[in-house]
């Protein structure tokens, strides 16, 4: 084989390896938090913080019923239209306001679960959100859900790594992640 042929083959291989490296999954977990149920959100946050402990980067996308979890109960914003005001009043105002997906029983089940969690030292959704923030979990919020439900950026919690995005950002992150979850 001639030296020129070898060089051509080597260059082709090099390009291929570079492409493969670029396309191979990173040590990252991408998660969609679609649910606004207390139990499911808690599971999502436990997996997220566990993944950071395992050395992974974690990206969480809050969309639809997951969006109001990130509202700050202490913040009030005006200037909403009728639908926005209604949605604002009917949806949970923040992480401490969520209900169980099962056995809610008009709030009684959720209250019982919360007191049991306290007794057993299990962290609440609010506390787990704070842990996630400390650990550097990146949160993206679906801009379309925000707009649909009439939420404003000013009424969201002061989370350290929070940005607003659309579906393309999630897909970009999910494509380069080893694990993708939908909760």
């Amino acid at each position: 084989m001639k030296k020129n042929d070898l060089e051509t083959q080597f260059a082709a291989l090099k390009t291929k390896v570079e492409t493969l490296t670029k396309e191979s999954a990173e040590n990252k977990l991408s998660m969609i938090v679609f649910s606004g149920d207390m139990d499911k959100v808690l599971a999502a946050l436990i997996i997220a913080s566990g993944a950071v402990a395992m050395g992974m980067d974690v990206v969480m996308f809050f969309t639809f019923w997951g969006t109001p979890i990130l509202r700050d109960k202490a913040k009030k914003v005006g200037g909403k239209d009728l639908m926005g005001t209604m949605f604002g009043a009917m949806l949970p105002k923040g992480a401490c306001n969520l209900k169980l997906s099962k056995m809610n029983m008009g709030g009684m089940g959720t209250a019982m679960m919360k007191s049991l969690m306290k007794k057993k030292n299990v962290a609440s959704v609010e506390e787990m959100l704070a842990v996630a923030g400390e650990l550097g979990v990146q949160i993206y919020v679906c801009e379309m859900s925000m707009d649909l439900m009439g939420f404003k950026r000013e009424e969201m919690i002061a989370y350290p790594n929070m940005e607003f995005c659309g579906v393309a950002k999630f897909l970009e992150e999910a494509k380069s992640s080893k694990i993708q979850l939908f909760i």
């Binding site: 436990i46 566990g50 402990a53 395992m54 050395g55 057993k120 030292n121 842990v131 650990l135």
Partner: protein, 80 residues
Amino acid sequence: MSEEIKVDKVMDLKGLPCPMPIVKVSKGIKEIEVGQVIEAQTTDPGALTDFPAWARTSGNEILKTDQDGKVITFFIKRNA
């Protein structure tokens, strides 16, 4: 051959349920040097499978596991 393990840092994780034991130990291990050892005490029974899984994934080593009643103690060497 039993030799005493030299412990550089002790972490009391008793009473903490999942996921806090591994969240805290993964932070704690960054505060010691490579080659040093953490003694982590936990009461979470899930830790018996969780700690080895965490160690394998993060590239650290569990030198010894002790169980005394409800308290499980791991001796973890920082390798990574």
